[in-house]
Symmetry: C2
Subunit: 87 residues, 2 copies
DNA sequence: TATATTTGACTAATATAATAGTTATTTATG
DNA sequence: CATAAATAACTATTATATTAGTCAAATATA
């Protein structure tokens, strides 16, 4: 089987990651939200894998230090001219 | 110097990547927008590095085939318990 | 156990991303 | 050159993400 990654998969993964990193840093949603200058409800939505704005998701990525890795992957997709596969 | 990656940097990079991959696939914004079931204006905003919804950005990533790479980076940040550096 | 903190699950109001249009300019094609 | 296609830059409207607020249930802490 192919096990294709879906958009929903990515959103759920973002949510799981936010929750786990928040926990391992001993932060409540309230605290993380305040630090990132967003609301507790938005953190909750992100952790639930709901749709969100790019800005808020990137704030989370930035706070937990994996923003550069995201940047690099996009840059790679760019420079390697990732045309749509014909196969 | 440190050359830190900012949230704006990532948004601009996403925009550049969308534009370049769209061009290299000989697609107009109109065509890409229709394929992804979003509007031409939204594609334009993304290419300009403006804020957008996660769903729409991931649609672009999915269409040009780098959604799994995004997924993997988030998964790595997750499993390696990327605590906030003290240094 | 008692108390405090955190979380899940809502609601109503607000802010803003997305949309469908339009027009002028730029770029590609005959 | 002439014409078509694509893009830049707007506007007004709609859709929806964000917010502040509440309250009950779950969890952690004294």
């Amino acid at each position: 089987m192919l096990n294709v990654v879906t958009i929903k998969d990515v959103k759920v993964k973002i949510g799981e990651t936010c929750k786990q990193l928040r926990k391992s840093n001993n932060l409540s949603r309230e605290e993380l939200a305040e630090t990132l200058d967003i609301s507790r409800a938005t953190i909750q939505n992100i952790e639930y894998g709901k749709n969100a704005t790019l800005d808020n998701v990137l704030k989370v990525a930035n706070h937990f230090g994996f923003l550069p890795y995201i940047f690099n992957e996009i840059d790679k997709a760019n420079t390697s001219q990732n045309d749509i596969s014909l196969y």
